[in-house]
């Protein structure tokens, strides 16, 4: 049976924890709003370029297995965000193992965010090509996205995949893989024949491929950030709720203990007085 003092200390610490989680929840809620606006703005941007390119470089079910795969997995740097990072790590692990099972030799992963890296590093670190920390220093910029696209394209692969948490609603987000075929596909005959090109077709298509990749990475990062904030908000919300319940229970226990102690003291005094 803990003493009154210990219970009192515990009560204090749980109260301050609940204050922290409530504050974090409010901060996450406001950041979520902002992130949602950014994401909504970027969606038509991404759609305009992807609608042009995806019919040609999107990976469909019936396509054959690529020979090399390079994946970019997006996670966060900060914790206390619920399950987004662990889900991401799980999906990436499963995905990479599936590729290995299909015969892809050494699929590689670029990991953005330290939480994802930490989750995968003990068991699946052989897949890592590069990991990026503290990339979310400021706001998510297109510069970051194009830097990552350049890193991805630095090593040629048959297929490029982006793993991110797709934001469907505040409580519904899931890990999605966005896969592209390599740029060689665009060299095939009959690709984009219905369009005229101002300038050389190969050049423009190469540029457009890179642009498409960067734009896709940009929108995926924004979606991931939004999902992360939403997840953090719900996680902190449930943490605050749990903390409040615990405070109630502890308070009752504390009061009972305190009153019992007082009663004991009184009884002793009375007994002592009577014996005199």
């Amino acid at each position: 049976m803990p003493s009154v003092k210990d219970l009192g200390k515990r009560l204090k610490s749980v109260t301050s924890t609940s204050k922290i989680t409530k504050a974090m929840k409010m901060v996450a809620a406001s950041k979520l709003k902002k992130a949602e606006t950014d994401m909504a703005k970027a969606r038509p941007f991404a759609a305009s370029v992807q609608s042009l390119m995806m019919p040609h470089i999107g990976v469909k079910e019936e396509d054959e297995t690529p020979s090399t795969v390079l994946a970019l997995a997006i996670s966060s740097d900060k914790g206390l965000c619920g399950g987004v990072n662990s889900k991401m790590a799980k999906e990436v692990k499963l995905g990479m193992e599936a590729y290995v099972g299909k015969g892809v030799e050494s699929p590689e992963v670029l990991m953005l965010g330290s939480k994802g890296r930490d989750a995968m590093t003990r068991t699946h670190s052989k897949f890592f090509k590069t990991t990026y920390d503290e990339a979310y220093g400021g706001k998510v910029t297109f510069s970051l996205a194009s830097f990552l696209a350049e890193q991805m394209l630095a090593s040629s692969a048959d297929s490029y995949v982006i793993y991110y948490n797709k934001f469907k609603s505040v409580i519904n987000f899931d890990v999605t893989a966005l896969a592209f075929k390599g740029p060689e596909v665009l060299g095939g005959s009959g690709v984009m024949d219905e369009y005229e090109f101002e300038g050389e077709k190969e050049e423009i298509l190469a540029d457009l491929y890179q642009f498409n990749l960067a734009v896709s990475i940009y929108s995926c990062i924004l979606e991931n950030v939004t999902s992360e904030q939403a997840s953090r908000m719900t996680a902190m919300d449930s943490a605050s709720t749990n903390a409040s319940e615990m405070i109630e229970k502890l308070q009752v226990q504390y009061n009972r203990l305190r009153q019992a102690k007082i009663t004991t003291e009184l009884t002793e005094i009375v007994a002592g007085a009577e014996s005199v």
Binding site: K41, S125, T141, D207
Partner: protein
Amino acid sequence: MLSNALRTGARPLAAGALRSSLARQAAPAARLVHATRAAREDAPKARRSAAPSPSRPSPPATAASPNLGRSRCRNLPCPLNRHTPSAAPPPPPQVEMVILPGVDGQFGVMPNHVPTIAELKPGVVSVQEAAGGPLTKYFVSGGFASIGEDSKLAVSTLMAAPLEELDADAIKTGLAQYQAAYEKARRAPGLSRGPSRNLRGAASELSWNLRSRLGTSRDPPEPLPSPSDTRPRPARDPPETRPRPFPRRPTTWSSPRRRSASRSTRRCRTPSPRREQRRGVACVRGPGGV
């Protein structure tokens, strides 16, 4: 509608070779830009859909960003959205003609244009809503334009702003700032060519915008005179003969400090006696949703 201010750090991608330059938008440019960051942020402009042919309805033109006032040199691309706090109305869905700054020169698009994909360099897009009417001009930071079969024109750029909202003074200040930063970057030891090329390109874009805004010339800009640099340039980076906004060669980056490439163990950054003991072991955290 269109975000105000000009984005110099972010440039549209692409260069000839496959591996080439997304460099422009990459870290050093971003870092540089952080130094001169304006308060506001925008996101990449997505698309201005104009259906020139009156018989075909088009989706409502997209308009941009949190455009709240005078332009400044700002860093982030502005995405397109349909809410226009800015004064300028979004371009109407059906227009007569649009003049676009392609990399090979300006070209015009009218209704029933053959389906085309074109790469744009940073420049001015002019929209003529009615035949013979006035031209509405926007500065775009490069990107791609595609004309579909139903005469729908989609312009995908990172940044777009109506010319009226661009502030010549802010542009001049920004140009000076970028040139100063460029000087600094060139002199900084250990930087590879990549960042400085970014800066050069960024400064060149700024100067182009400046000139076009002030109406001096519509011609492609010549690259800014680089500060006197007598170091021999490596052979694989010839001087650009055509003022393309993006270099063609892959750039090699010295990894920016804030992005650490690490493999399986995390480096403990601050040495301390206790950490030294634990160095090889405890820097690896367990898995799970921390």
